[in-house]
Symmetry: C2
Subunit: 188 residues, 2 copies
């Protein structure tokens, strides 16, 4: 069974931290703003499902259509991206972020310009494909604590590459608009 949802069809996802789930949480680190509470395990739930009463925290959102990528970029990514659930990808990271009101007040072309033309977000991410699989979950507009939840999976030998990727993104002009970010690392 493929873990990929059909491209662009809204698909709910919930990430539940607590006593259950196939991922053992190794660290939860606040990068900007408040952290999330500690918990031993995390469950990655694709589709609808109840949040168990034992949950310490749960973050929900949907995968959906692309918001910024051009046809050219989308094709380039789809040629090289990896699926979730690869047996060798025993490391995962969950990076929930929120962007500032200033970011969201910008027009579409201004956000695109900061994100790609000035920060090369997609181009930087592309350099780490297919080693690092990625899924973007949207949660702005749902009244939650974050705007996006990004989920990454990679083999242990690509851990240094993953660190480099997040360091590079955090140094971009785009990240000046991030007003909350938490970094959760897991293994299974």
């Amino acid at each position: 069974m493929s873990m990929e949802s059909p491209a662009s069809i809204p698909t709910p996802h919930t990430l539940i931290a607590g006593s259950d789930g196939s991922w053992a949480i190794r660290s939860i680190r606040p990068v900007v703003g408040a952290s999330l509470p500690r918990a031993p395990r995390l469950q990655f739930l694709q589709g609808q499902g109840p949040i168990p009463p034992s949950a310490v925290w749960a973050l929900s959102g949907v995968t959906s259509h692309v918001r910024y990528m051009t046809e050219h970029e989308q094709r380039a990514v789809s040629r090289v991206q990896a699926a979730l659930g690869r047996p060798e990808a025993t490391c995962a990271a969950l990076i929930p972020i929120r962007k500032s009101p200033e970011w969201w007040a910008l027009a579409q072309d201004q956000r695109r310009e900061i994100m790609q033309e000035r920060s090369r977000h997609f181009a930087v991410g592309m350099e780490y494909l297919p080693a690092i699989a990625r899924r973007l979950i949207h949660c702005r507009d749902y009244g939650g604590e974050f705007d996006f939840l990004t989920w990454f999976e990679y083999a242990p030998e690509h851990e240094a590459a993953f660190e480099e990727l997040v360091d590079r993104l955090r140094a971009t002009p785009e990240w000046a608009y991030v007003d909350r970010e938490v970094d959760v690392r897991m293994t299974r």
Copy 2:
């Protein structure tokens, strides 16, 4: 009290058809695909609120940041747009639409190109400001029946202009991607 929500901050809206509400429903017409059930009145609810058991149907979504408009377009619109709730604007229209899977599978630049460069969506809409006030409510990603709910308010003397506006938009290349559309007309 202004009825405008702060620009770009996600604000829930629910449109409830049933026996209550300040708007008397004059007609409900299917434009493409299935219609919505008949009901005598409609309530425009900004913010969170329970859906009464007497509701015949209810459509929910959020106002949020702009998805396609450039800085230039956004400034031009904000200079001339009208607020909801003007005393003279006693006519309203609710036009829920859904776009096809083919639309949502397009990249951002392809959707923008069809919407504005080929269909002149914003430019056409601008010609009818400030006579026709408009609010766009997003509901794709929420699992509902429609992708957008657009709410319009205008004075009776601008009814012919409103008909012209919707006729022009329905004749654009963008509208070839609309696979469901209902047109609800009201007065108060």
